[in-house]
Symmetry: C2
Subunit: 229 residues, 2 copies
């Protein structure tokens, strides 16, 4: 490890600090950042096929749990994990006051966008709509986006395959995470508005930052040093 761990770990009765990491694409991108921060989880943590959920690290003061991206924010907001990594999309969707997001990790770059069928996007002036149906796994973000434009949005909450919705008459547009845009194109959709650019953030439970200040600030500093390296 690059940094001494002695001042970060405690033998406190509180047990190890829990770091919640998201499954999937972001976990792979996180590997080098964790390594530079001196965090070495048990080997099968980075193997998505492992059915284990909790992993020790080489530091007895830190354990990792691997959960879905949306659940990282829930675990940290409730203090079940003291720190975590999740996308700005999830923070926008839930807007948990208990979460403090001190660091942009600069990975997982993508955007939350509105997409519409190619023909619709070219023919209609969306600013003149008063109502719209939207399929999204981000009901909060979608509703807020249209409310700010004075448009009443009826949201159909889906967990995936939003791209099917317009062609099947389930919604007029979708609000979804877009990376390369290839899935949109494959389904005859075009990106019509970028709602927000998204990267992954280090997040912290505000209460834990007060009750375990040395440990939590220590881990934030480790991530900060890893980004500077």
């Amino acid at each position: 490890m690059d940094l001494p761990a002695s001042n970060l770990t405690t033998s406190s009765d509180l047990g190890p600090v829990i770091l919640a990491l998201p499954k999937g694409r972001i976990l792979k991108e996180l590997g080098p950042v964790l390594a530079r921060a001196g965090i070495t989880p048990a080997a099968d943590c980075m193997n998505e096929d492992s059915r284990r959920l909790r992993f020790e690290t080489t530091d007895p003061g830190l354990d990792v749990v691997r959960v879905r991206s949306f659940d990282v924010a829930t675990f940290v907001a409730h203090g079940a994990a003291q720190i975590g990594v999740c996308g700005a999309d999830v923070l926008m969707e839930f807007d948990y006051p208990e979460i403090y997001a001190p660091l942009d990790l600069g990975i997982g770059g993508c955007r939350i966008s509105v997409a519409a069928p190619k023909g619709l996007a070219e023919e209609e002036d969306s600013s003149r709509w008063s109502r719209i149906t939207v399929a999204s796994k981000y009901p909060g973000i979608a509703r807020k986006h249209y409310a700010q434009r004075g448009i009443q949005a009826e949201i159909v909450h889906l967990n995936g395959a939003m791209e099917l919705a317009p062609a099947l008459g389930l919604s007029k547009v979708i609000v979804d995470l877009v990376d390369t845009g290839s899935t949109l194109r494959a389904n005859g959709l075009v990106e019509t508005e970028v709602i927000a650019h998204v990267t992954s953030r280090l997040i912290v439970n505000r209460t834990a930052l007060k009750t375990r200040p040395e440990e939590i600030a220590g881990w934030i500093n480790r991530f900060r040093a890893a980004l500077a390296a």
Copy 2:
């Protein structure tokens, strides 16, 4: 195909009937049922790695969309798919009045249960609780289950990894789908109550059954014949 398709397909302007199928374990179990019903989707439909979302079948009157289990019910309830296959767990959770579930397909057998840490389950009498925290991806089912017992449940909605919640102090118990119970045991939990036994159902949009009665009733009959075979 075992059954003649001529009386099921129409050249109507409504386009093909859309059958929504769930991704994952159930899709594999469905393979033989679909074959006996004379439904042959494009080959990559059964390949979970395919990124396609919509598949033609050998019958021009039927297309398949492959979505998450929870989304099958949403697509059918809104009429974006006219028929679908989903677990009784999803039907219980949403309780959509627009969905009619005429057939139990007898596959995907499991149960929705309450599980608790081993020690808690042995020491405490749950019938004496007045409040409880529950982690679940079934907030509706969990809330209703405890309301019927006069217990006020605070639900923490998670999308996965519920089994972590009790050990991290996120909830006292979990409400989750249980198959073999091995994941529960691996996380120190025991099943304390079975809320419902679950199998997969053929579901139908009630409006489609009225507006396209011959086609929809035809497909229901094909599934019924497949089960009898």
